[in-house]
Symmetry: D2
Subunit: 359 residues, 4 copies
């Protein structure tokens, strides 16, 4: 059982079915196909807004392209210091923005506060030539710590960003998980809260390789098609992406998938949380569980073929220390996670603790 | 009927079947899956050589990454002046190489000669600081004009390239079509003929979105994984690419596809060539037919819903002039082209000519 | 005697004097000094127009920064195929534009025609995503062949450029030599003829290391200060550049220098042109003489310590062939060239010819 | 009186004299002149080592080029979070390295510790593809806080760096001030302490616009000439740089200048330090004095035309808080600072305090 990430599983059935349905017959290449057109229409419906939507096969591609649309090469992009864009994309944003600077902001639980944003902004004064120029803010929703910004928090952050003339980006690699957890609409979590550009992820929640970059203001998207082509992210048989997105969105499938994954995560969190010696540094809000477990538990899980991701974090709550005999693990649930799997994880963890206590 | 390109159709059945087969169960992400491993093994077999193979979803991504591995930012890449890398990728090679210069060489029928290469090289002297430095040569096989370099021609070009310490790249977006037409092996067309790096295309010949960059010398591939990740071309659910390549290569399927496409092209070429007033500027050697047709023929085809690509070329043979009442069209056949379709194209063209003559 | 270029001499006296005068006392750094302010004011006077002027120590820096202000990374810059920006700057424009494409246009004598420009533009259709997008045109005045565009020619070229929404750049590394030769004003040769941005060279005509990038529309210069800083071209003790430019422009000194250099060139051209066996492929219009000389003449000059630059060119007039016993040389005069030097060059050439004839 | 920086003054006399001496006669361009050759020889003597030395007009250019020689685009450069390269060059290192990541390390007084370096390195694991790869370490000597690393500290830092296969860079914009303060040789502060590449500054200590990038291993400098040309930093009349460096180094002039500046700084520090209410957050070790002064003192200095730079810093010692009625100022002395000026600054500060006390 592999719970190290939500990208270790394949497509969900409706996505595969759409891909099969799209396979026959001729379709214009490079995104001019009917499936892509339908996907774009559906995305506009999902966001209750006219959108310029661009389908892209990878999350790194989507994020890097989105940021490139928001900053000049001499710009600064403000984000959490452990965000995916700054830490996990091998410098893709720097490549796509032609060398803009990602400025990491500290903050507990994967989130940064308005105060921290404002303090950071003070160091980057517009018009001071020696300094890179404030250009954009990027927030991750779900964050790298599996936590969520509330709608209020997003609005307050984007308010400060707008006051400083920053473009605003939301990295929604786990967009659906966040939306479902907050019980809000896609519109509420984005443009109604001051977000300009969204990386709308589908891959982790049921697609095979499909994300969308969504602009609510067409003017910002003006040159995006050239950026996408030039970075090799314009797929020639565009129906590959169009069909995935259609299958993903149709009949609320994406929402069902996210609800399921989040429910599995909640179960796992409460189950693990009740195991003696297991500590959760912050609440499980979407489909990722971060747990500090006794070494024996980690070993038992591994022995049973249950894979979780060894973790490290700069944003542990103040005073939260990981002991020498402890391991920090991330578990991620997905549309494909089964209740029985969760039960087994908890059972193995419990058994390991009991065993240890008995020794 | 759309014959404008070979990317207007979907996957061939065995590729789709592999994708379906690969969908179930957990697999490590980012190319560490079993399907990708199997694909890499099969590619080594195909090329009869140890290879470093990297799967990538788009041809532009594959080409730009391959060239970036061969040239520093201050390097020159020598290629035909109408090659895909210089003309059709919106500057992707410039982006991925951080600004290297693609130097276009003139030549009839999409090919450049050894003499032209040598003459061009004279202008880029190693060590002369004001000049970009000779770094690589890229040949397209099939070329943009649908023509082929013979093995001898490739060997002679790479011989000159090696003498000037250039790395050598083969853009094989239509690799199988070329190989089948030449009746040679993949090894003969590449490393046995002095090629260092290959963009091995599968998309146009039956896959949905899958290419491979192939290195025969692992040292050249040393940093390729970082380049791929950093450009957003490392697909998280890597089985998407692995499965396509396995389905494509298994049981010689790729060769069957290419044979079929080439045969359809030959039929179309001879059929069209026999239509009065139709002229082919150069022989049809793989799966692309370039034809100068009377205006009336172009109109008739369009009226019948038969799509070909309007073309333009700098590399028409000397003295070959397109008249005012003529149109230059490209037809491309694929694994999915049916004999009946070809018959219909020819019939429509013939009828149009007869009609015109009768008027 | 070194006539290989006009950058083999030092500063002219008034420039040095200004540098000395500027050396004492405190001045704000990074271009906020009084000398730079004065230079900017003088440049506005020279061009009879409000300008945004940026002083830069090198011509390559000035050109690359100017082009970067005119094109996005996915843009095309149209220029002569032997222009300095495409051939002699080791890819600086590609670096500064983050990978834009310089498209070389053929043309005799270092100049391209309106017809050639229009033909080239046809291949780069705005909105066609696979193609880099037409962005700018750059003309060199004086050209790489030492020739000049007439004001009419500049106006016609910029007319076509404007019709295609291209920004227009004039590489004026030898601006003064051109202006003096045409007998026109700086305004006439630039904004009155449709030029948007100028690389205004002073180094080759009397300064030590000083050029200016001149914008006539402040909007185009909006981000230039960041580009300059970020490329390391904002000199901290800015008075270095400001004083040079003041000394250069004051009292018409720059015009005197250019007149002298051009006059020396005219004398050399007529003197050499009268030597039997010496051929000039095109007229000498400014301060560069291109001459095809018998091998014996080349050897004699070298033996006498007279240095000229061995040349090669793609833009020789049709039918102009350089024989096996001939050498192609470039001679460049400057403010420092003396009449006696010119006489000596001609005398040595003549003597060599006579000797050869006598043998 | 302007003490805001050491770049508000001109050249010192011997540098100007060298420039004048170098002005006459012909010299090959682009750094092939005799002055540059002499400067290179002198630099080898100064460093007691064979060097590849490259003269460059600006410190930002020198730093960015040096770092580009040490890291690939997917590399990480570790430096203090307030270092000049990360904070004050408008992203030049990102531009020149084609997008490498500068990773800022916290540390009091402008310095980072070995422990902090090691902790940071743990987050960048070689071979983990999603992460930028550890490539280089850059230390500033003098630091942004005017403090110094001891030779022991440099050796320990480079020891860790080497163990992690990082290239090592020393930003010596105030190299001479540091060397003189430590009482060591140039060799001891660099290659004998594990430094691979040095930005050797002359501008702030008496030159007008001259720095050198120094490599001790020629292999590392292999492509540097292309990088310099391509970034527009190869000055055509190279004697401009060569002569400055010769004048700067000859007869130990650079050492005299630095000694004088440091002595002036020491006097100012002790004078200001004795003024009631003035606090120095860290010791003055070279030619920069950082002082927290009562508002009234700041106002009095300004009123007397004495300019210092308003400062801000993330690296104040723990617990050091700047009060509401205080101002944080930086004073910088140079070769041109006079003892009488220092006396006046102290006197004005004292008088202001007395006045305030009396009110």
């Amino acid at each position: 059982m592999n719970l190290a990430s939500d990208n270790v599983v394949g497509m969900s059935r409706p996505v595969l079915d759409a891909l099969i349905a799209a396979n026959g017959g001729g379709e214009p290449a490079y995104g001019a196909d009917s499936w892509t057109a339908k996907a774009e229409k559906m995305l506009a419906d999902v966001f209750e807004h006219e959108v310029s939507a661009f389908l892209i096969a990878t999350g790194t591609g989507a994020n890097a392209l989105a940021l490139a649309a928001l900053t000049p090469p001499w710009g600064a992009v403000f984000c959490h210091e452990e965000s995916h864009v700054i830490d996990d994309e091998c410098g893709a944003p720097e490549m796509f923005t032609d060398g803009a600077k990602l400025v990491g902001i500290r903050g507990s639980g994967g989130k940064f506060t308005v105060a921290a944003l404002e303090e950071t902004l003070e160091r980057y004064v517009p018009g001071v030539v020696k300094s890179v120029q404030p250009a954009a803010m990027s927030v991750s929703q779900v964050t790298e710590a599996g936590t969520l910004y509330s709608l209020d928090e997003i609005r307050t952050l984007t308010g400060v960003a707008k006051a400083h003339k920053l473009g605003t980006h939301l990295d929604g690699a786990r967009f659906a998980n966040a939306m479902v957890a907050l019980g809000c609409t896609a519109a509420e979590m984005t443009w109604k809260s001051g977000i300009d550009v969204v990386s709308f992820g589908a891959t982790k929640n049921g697609a095979l390789a499909c994300e969308a970059v969504i602009f609510f203001d067409k003017a910002r998207a003006e040159n995006f098609q050239y950026r996408r082509k030039r970075s090799g992210h314009t797929v020639s048989k565009g129906r590959l992406l169009g069909a995935q997105m259609v299958g993903y969105l149709e009949n609320g499938h994406w929402i069902d998938n996210a609800r399921h994954a989040n429910a599995m995560a909640a179960t796992l969190a409460s189950g693990l949380g009740a195991v003696p010696g297991v500590r959760l540094p912050w609440p499980t809000q979407a489909n990722e569980i971060f747990a500090v477990v006794p070494e024996g538990v980690a070993a038992a899980l591994a022995a049973e073929g249950i894979r979780a991701a060894p973790w490290g974090s700069l944003s542990l709550p103040e005073g939260f220390v990981i002991g020498a005999g402890e391991r920090f693990l991330r578990f991620v649930t997905s549309f494909a996670t089964e209740a029985a799997q969760i039960e087994r994880v908890v059972a193995v963890a419990k058994a390991a603790t009991t065993r240890t206590a008995a020794e």
